[in-house]
């Protein structure tokens, strides 16, 4: 008992706790614009953790992550939705309770990841990368044509999440907490936060345990891993399934945040954004994926929001370098510079700056062994 209390009182744990408190308090301070940006960042973080398990830890390059996001989003919409009409199309749905639809959508994404295993199990390196690219294009085509599920080009509204009559929308029931009106974004914030915490904990446990070591071994050398008794093919497809489930969960969250999902969103650019997140954050690191997701999601918003105050950046709609362009430059430059100068990404950077300090403070020996997972980029 006292051990557990001591563990809770460790600086790292306290830092995490403080971070969570701050995150939990944010809806009381942030305007809708920043709440929404934060929600997108949290959804992206979940997706990025998944991709990181696949590409960072196992070394399987995937350009098809947006496809699995789409499966999650439309899966949720279909499971939770009712038969009816969306735009000019008749749509169908199972009308399941929304929490069940969420779980079902995540499982569906996992199944789709599993169905891809005949391909993912056979292909290596770039071949796999380009094969997953096919998922994006085929997915786009299917989304536009499977109108009874997706509603076609105009997309389809997502049923708001409901827990025992409490909906995560602006109404029903009206909710004010300490004088702050709790609308859809405030309510969704806590759902997202819970999902993100669960996602991070699960991923960390996966990586610290036997599966994480096995996946790392598969990345470093399949033959060596096989010699050591790791069932390579099984681990490779398992990584794909788990990664797809994370993407699916991110997709569900996105559907809830958007309220209405359109197929155009899930293009190649989105897949590339996710790759950029895990690279900028640091391949193989869960914390890095979260940081990378925040970086990639929040950066363009910062530019759009503070365009007027930035040097060299002109206001939207005038000539010169607009805020969107400026954020594209910075985005591209961030990828290139991170890879050139800190191949471990933000996680590697944090580790490097944290390590000497910890040693100096004399905590090095007593603190928990460093997590096993963030070795990806260092090797």
């Amino acid at each position: 008992m006292s051990d557990r209390l001591a563990a809770l009182l460790r600086p790292a744990a306290l830092g995490t706790l403080a971070g969570l408190v701050v995150l939990a308090a944010l809806p009381f301070y942030l305007t809708d614009f920043w709440l929404l940006t934060g929600l997108f960042a949290m959804a992206a973080a979940l997706g990025a953790i998944g991709l990181n398990l696949l590409s960072g830890t196992t070394g399987q390059l995937s350009l098809g992550h947006s496809f699995f996001l789409a499966v999650g989003a439309y899966g949720y919409i279909w499971f939770a939705g009712d038969d009816g009409r969306s735009g000019t199309h008749d749509v169908t749905g199972l009308g399941l309770p929304t929490p069940i639809a969420l779980v079902a959508a995540v499982l569906l994404a996992g199944v789709m990841g599993g169905l891809f295993s005949p391909i993912s199990g056979r292909l290596r390196g770039m071949y796999l990368g380009v094969a997953t690219l096919a998922l994006v294009f085929i997915g786009e085509h299917v989304m536009n044509n499977a109108t009874t599920v997706t509603g076609g080009y105009n997309g389809r509204a997502a049923e708001p999440m409901t827990f025992f009559g409490f909906t995560l929308t602006d109404r029903e029931p009206h909710l004010e907490v300490l004088g702050i009106e709790f609308g859809a974004y405030e309510r969704l914030w806590y759902l997202a936060l819970v999902l993100l915490v669960v996602g991070v904990v699960v991923a960390r446990n996966l990586l610290r345990g036997r599966p994480g070591r096995a996946l790392g071994a598969v990345r470093d050398s399949e033959i060596a891993a096989a010699v050591m008794g790791v069932p390579v093919a099984r681990y490779r497809s398992a990584a794909f399934v788990v990664s797809s489930m994370y993407a699916g969960l991110a997709g569900v969250l996105l559907a809830l945040v958007f309220g209405r999902v359109i197929p155009d969103y899930f293009g190649l650019a989105l897949s590339i954004d996710y790759l950029a997140m895990i690279v900028i954050g640091g391949l193989g690191s869960v914390g890095g994926a979260v940081a990378g997701a925040a970086f990639v999601t929040v950066l363009p918003q910062l530019f759009a929001h503070y365009a007027g105050a930035l040097p060299l950046v002109t206001a939207t709609g005038t000539d010169g370098i607009g805020p969107q362009e400026a954020s594209r430059y910075l985005y591209g430059a961030a990828i290139v510079l991170v890879l050139l100068f800190s191949p471990g990404g933000l996680a590697g950077l944090a580790r490097r700056t944290a390590a000497p300090r910890r040693r100096a403070a004399g905590h090095g020996a007593t603190s928990r062994p460093r997590t096993k997972e963030p070795q990806g980029a260092d090797t």
């Binding site: 701050v22 929404l36 536009n144 300490l178 209405r260 939207t316």
Partner: protein, 430 residues
Amino acid sequence: MKPGSGTRAVCAVLAALALTVTACSTKDDKKDDGGGANPSAPGSPGGKVKTGPGVTDTEIHIGELSDLSGPYAPLGKSVTNAEQLYFDQINAAGGICGRKVVMDVKDHGYDAQKARTAYTEISGKVVGISQMVGSAIVTQLQDDIERDGLLTLPQAWASTLLGKKVIQVTATTYDVEIINGFEYLARTAPLASGDKVGHIYTDDEFGANSALGVKYAAQAAGVSVVDQKIKPTDQDMTAAVTALKSAGVKAIIVSASPRQVGPVMVVTESAGFKVPVLSHSVGFHPQLLAVAAAPMEARLAITSPVPAISSTDLPAVAKLGSDYLAKFPGSSLDQGVMSGYAAAGIFGEDLKAACAAGDLTREGLVAAHRKQTGMDLGLGLKLDFSSNAKPPSYQTFILKVDKSKPGGLVTVEPAHEVPGAKSYTLPKTG
């Protein structure tokens, strides 16, 4: 680690939490943020006008959700410029209700996520949205737009955008537009009962909506349609044209962007398949003249909800052309300029009407808008906004290409509607 430090840190965290909860937030009540929520005091410039979010004593803020960096950037740029021109002229003449009109432009780059955050950012601060580029963006946001009661003018004309109280398609919808155009094509090609006509259309909202019109008009004329669906990103029209050629079509309708209309003209010319081609005004861009002037002048007709910018018989249009070039030298006078100016004009007239009615709130603006039954922007047709289930006009112009004219187009037939247009049933949206 000293035993006490952890406890102290816990206390600090708890204290922070307590502070968080009790001191509570500087956050504004979201429903009122931005803009003065109070009715203007008597004697202020606006007199006794009821105002809400987006309207202060000196300024009226309107939102523009444009695409300035994505696939629709050419349209977004022209529309934004044209709206800027219109409101600058309004402001120079004293503004509306004694207030200056301020445009709050946001670039979403045709990205759903950026569009949603941009919408959330401006929705509390504006009285309405006078430009929203991208059909999919509009539908993605439509539930929020309706909830917030923001009068919104999309730069997209699919009839699936009809039926919303606050979202206003600014002109004839694509399906009606092409029904009118089809009559011209049938009359001039000419098409007889039993003939075939090819329809190349993009696999998106625009193409699908236009296809409804083509099917209706063709059926009425006893003409059969050979469909060729393409992706909005396709540029190579060879296979599509070859398929239509071997099917023996007498004319081609293209419901696509200039990126595809240009190649269709060139490929049909190369293949010796010189049939008449009909397209929408969004399918033409003056820059196509550099690559396909001759075939377009010979064979392309455009059905358009606005007249050609070169129309000399309409003083407002002629003035727009010269003012625009004076303000944005070197820009091309494409149809985006016309439709941007028209949208700004509608919004400006609505604001004036709302001012006259003494209610510049969002609800007041929407109410004033729905009372407009004969709005004349000097574009050669009248707009009726009283019904949200119908387009504001069933009339379109027929334009042809003339590279010597500003904007590359001339009006050959003034605004008119064909007898069958009104009996066409608009698609039912749910």
